[in-house]
């Protein structure tokens, strides 16, 4: 009896990696988003969030990492979705490749700016002066 148990794994490419990223980031977003919603909207409450709260939160390295991860994963998840949808409108191979790079670079830049803002924190002394 013959069997095909040999490993026939194709080399991972951009498409396969993007698809997996969509799944993994989706799974990670579940706890990240729910914890965020629970704290901001339920435990603290949106009306109690002011600059002091933000300053307090971003003074903590753990929350800085948490918020950077939340931003990066949520944004990547959305940008990859945008990439998939845009493929419906751009059919040439070249246009798709360029578009993928534009979206990827936009993700890097926005995530970087967001990360800088989070790490920089809220400078209460500047606001008060």
């Amino acid at each position: 009896m013959t069997t095909t148990t040999a490993n026939v794994k194709p080399k991972p490419n951009y498409e396969a990696t993007a698809w997996k990223w969509m799944r993994y980031s989706g799974v990670l977003l579940i706890p990240l988003v729910w914890i965020h919603v629970a704290i901001q909207d339920v435990i603290v409450g949106v009306h109690n969030i002011d600059i002091n709260y933000v300053a307090m939160r971003w003074a903590n390295v753990g929350w800085q990492v948490y918020d950077i991860l939340l931003l990066a994963f949520a944004f990547a998840h959305g940008m990859n979705g945008l990439r998939q949808v845009s493929f419906d409108f751009f059919t040439s191979e070249k246009a798709r490749k360029n578009l993928s790079w534009v979206i990827f670079i936009a993700w890097i830049i926005i995530s970087f700016i967001g990360a800088v803002a989070i790490i920089g924190g809220a400078r209460l002394n500047l606001l008060n002066s």
Partner: protein, 237 residues
């Protein structure tokens, strides 16, 4: 019962180059009549130019896939009573070029089908020189996808396919699945390589339209997921 049958018309031979609908009111329709019966009646007694594909008329050949009341069916398998409506709108399947009335150009569909080598590939001589044996479990592994009749109801119900004609579509993946998981076949690697390309399985966004449209009740979205998994793990047993 009385039924209003609205049918999409497009026929360059008769000068109907602007797509439009024709409507007939049919009386004495039996709820157990099939939509194909209504189309045959109209073609036979009202308008002989009405064009549609049909062959076996028993859900086996897969010729008469159509969009009926907004959903893909085989006209020969769907009964009037199952549509729960006295107005039945029949259109060609979407995503393929309309050639005449309900007839679409199936060539892009079959071209995509051929691209995944949908046939047994094994150049080795069987152990006993005669046949390649297979256990029940090994046969069961791909049993569901052997049922495909290539009617294109799944592919033309897929929003990814509507948006992107380069996507191979669910039917092609189903037929690749049928050989990828066949223990007697030796070209799974080649097929997975093809389906790992840009127009391959990663275009599937699990809308489940294909599973809903399949007249053979194949678990298409599951089959596509299994192919995705095989690409990720390299395991086809």
């Amino acid at each position: 019962m009385e039924v209003t049958l609205r049918v999409f018309r497009y026929n360059t031979e008769t000068g109907r180059t602007k797509p439009s609908f024709d409507s007939w009111t049919l009386t004495d329709v039996d709820p157990t009549d099939r939509v194909l019966d209504l189309l045959e009646f109209v073609k036979g007694y009202h308008d002989g130019t009405l064009s549609f594909r049909r062959s076996c008329a028993h859900g086996v050949c897969g010729s008469d896939a159509m969009r009926i009341n907004g959903r893909n069916y085989l006209a020969c398998k769907v009964l009037v009573r199952d549509l729960n409506s006295t107005t039945i709108t029949v259109e060609p399947i979407m995503g393929l070029k309309v050639m005449k009335d309900l007839i679409v150009d199936m060539e892009p569909f079959f071209e995509s089908y051929r691209s995944v080598l949908p046939y047994m590939i094994n150049d080795e001589v069987p152990a006993d020189g005669k046949e390649r044996l297979q256990s029940e479990a090994q046969r069961e592994r791909f049993d569901d996808t052997t049922k495909c009749i290539l009617c294109a109801a799944c592919t033309t119900s897929c929003p990814s396919f509507w948006g992107d004609g380069k996507y191979v579509g669910p039917a092609t993946i189903v037929n690749a699945h049928r050989f990828i998981f066949d223990s007697r076949d030796q070209a799974a690697g080649e097929r997975l390589e093809i389906l790992n390309e840009q127009g391959g399985v990663w275009r599937c966004r699990t809308a489940f339209n294909c599973t809903e449209a399949c007249p053979r009740e194949i678990h298409i979205t599951q089959a596509i997921a299994e192919v995705k998994q095989a690409i990720n793990t390299g395991k086809v047993d």
